[in-house]
């Protein structure tokens, strides 16, 4: 991103600090590893010098709003802005306490997919750059060209809201057009594989998830990084009574993940952070994507796109179906 835009953002945020409109500004700064940025939590105008607006800003900074209860300025991509709407709707943050700066997002690069596409290890990737509609990678001094489908996070391939839905200021630049809803034709050949699992019989799906969840370490990175997981005390930490054992048994792991899935249904905006951070690479987004699709199909509800539509799982209507109660 051009330096002038960064300077403009620094000037804007510095002004907000001076005017007392914000106590924190959340952005990105250069990370300590290749292909990595790191969240910047600026507490004053001086800290803003570390802002870095280059590639790999995959973080959904909304998760810090669980902790920082103050007037906050922050950078958001389209998907992140949906988390803000969701949090405002849930009464977790007040719109007037936020100063939202939108950043154009070209789709975030997924290093795991890139490594898979080059049939190598992530550490072997020497350089990554974008060119036209492709992502170019240098490995062992050889250049490889990858189509976006093999290089970007799956969520970016079907992003319907690339432009922030709320903002006080939009950084100049090109905001990608929304990707039309997926059809069997457009999802063909994607590595996300949700269709590969879905038509399978139930016992096979069950076996798949039993296997995935037995690898879960219960490190709770998925829950902690999730902006929608804002309960001050999570049910897995309740011990009187103990609903879920802290022991990482296959069964308790399963319960933990399914419970979290149900609990964030309607507030989960499919930002994909849970899957990105999972150290055991459990494909959690297959569940969250399915949940999002079901909510849309059954209730015509899409999380985090407005402040008005009531959450399906927290709304009672006289005419709601009850034929499953015997």
């Amino acid at each position: 991103m051009p330096e002038t835009i960064k300077d403009e953002l620094i000037a804007l945020a510095a002004k907000l600090f001076r005017e007392g409109k914000i106590s924190h500004f959340l952005g990105y700064q250069k990370g300590t590893l290749k292909f990595q940025t790191t969240p910047l939590i600026a507490l004053n105008p001086e800290d803003l010098q570390h802002l870095w607006l280059e590639d790999f800003f995959f973080f959904n900074l909304a998760f810090y709003l669980k902790e920082i209860k103050n007037k906050v300025g922050l950078l958001v991509k389209g998907c992140d802005s949906r988390s803000l709407l969701s949090l405002i709707k849930e009464g977790q943050v007040k719109r007037e306490d936020l100063y939202v700066v939108g950043i154009p997002c070209p789709g975030q690069i997924d290093l795991r997919k890139v490594a898979e596409a080059i049939a190598g290890e992530r550490e072997e990737i020497e350089e990554i750059w974008r060119q036209g509609n492709e992502v170019h990678v240098r490995v062992n001094d050889q250049e490889k060209r990858l189509p976006k489908a093999l290089a970007l996070l799956d969520k970016c391939l079907h992003c319907r809201y690339p432009k922030p839905l709320i903002s006080d200021f939009l950084l100049p630049g090109e905001y990608a057009p929304p990707v039309p809803p997926a059809t069997p034709e457009t999802t063909q050949g994607l590595s996300r594989g949700r269709d590969e699992l879905r038509p399978k019989p139930l016992p096979e799906k069950w076996a798949f998830w039993v296997d995935q969840f037995q690898h879960c370490l219960r490190c709770y990175a998925c829950r902690n990084v999730c902006p929608a997981c804002f309960c001050p005390r999570c049910i897995v930490e309740e011990n009187m009574p103990q609903w879920v054992s802290p022991l990482p048994t296959a069964g308790d792991n399963f319960v933990f993940h399914l419970m979290r899935l149900m609990h964030v249904a309607g507030t989960c905006v499919s930002c994909g952070e849970c899957q990105r951070v999972c150290p055991m690479e459990i494909p959690l987004m297959r569940l969250h994507d399915k949940m999002a699709e079901d909510l849309e199909e059954l209730y015509n509800f899409v999380a985090g796109i407005d402040l008005d539509q009531p959450l399906p799982f927290r709304t009672f209507r006289q005419e709601d179906a009850d034929d499953f109660i015997k």
């Binding site: 300590t32 590893l33 990175a221 902690n224 802290p246 150290p279």
Partner: protein
Amino acid sequence: MYRKISKENLRKWLGELKARAAILAPAKERGLWSYREFGLQDFPLRFRNSRLPPKGLFLDPLRALFAWKSSGGSVQLTPLPPLNGQRILIGLKPCDARALRILEPIFTRDYPDVFFLDNLSRTLRLGQACSVLCTGSFCLEMGIDPQESADFDIFFREIPAGYLARVLTDQGRTFTEGDFFAEASAGEWDLARREMPEKKEKPLFRLERVPAGVAQSFPDKNFWERVSAKCINCGICTYLCPTCHCFDLGDLQMPGQGVRFRCWDSCAFPGFTKMAGHNPREEKWRRYRQRVSHKFNFFYQSFQSIACVGCGRCVVHCPVNLDLREVLVEVAR
């Protein structure tokens, strides 16, 4: 003692060992490297290190300790069968082998932990010299030599004709007797040493300054608040750490009977120190300070070694790139 073995003989040797022991070797499963029972033919190519440290093979993420039954006001405890069966761990890296050494006094001093000790004594440790420095690693700063180690039974270095083996224990010696191996000299061993291509001119920090530096920084609340600000309180750094060893106990119970388990725990969790009426580490900066202080100061005071081997797993897999190396650079100034 030095020996050498051709690639072909290595295959034969491993084949023979398989009849005598369970062989755990690096294998890629679900896209992640881990130590698995596997039909290994040779040391795997492109293996840098496992996602989860091998500590889990000694201190299991979940381990049943004993079973109990209660009836008529009395409780009977049933010990579980001892862990047995020879295991051979292959392809282990010098950092992780050192980590197992570091863990030893914890589970032997004061209270000998049968589970950890049984696992140690039934596992032959075969190491492999590293050919590259892993991303995010700082083993050299931590005094680990990726090309040399005395923390194995047998340590291998690759040569064009196969492998050189440095035999370090009696058990290692028994396993390398026989015709698959030939004699080798210390001179050959030294010649097979490879320099790390990415080695930095200057270390990131001076290790000898770290324990005192951490101790001095202890009261500096602002420092710990600043360095831990990004932390999301997950357990990745502890669970992926080859030396973190804190655990929790829990019961799985049914009326009249149950099993007591041990599982990994993490000081990053707010509930870790929660007790009746009080939590001494409610705030995140206190928990992060504890993790760094335990590894680099308290542990050093108790055991004269530092509970970190610089493997870099915590650096690479931190969801927010909170890089321990940066903290160490600051405290060691």
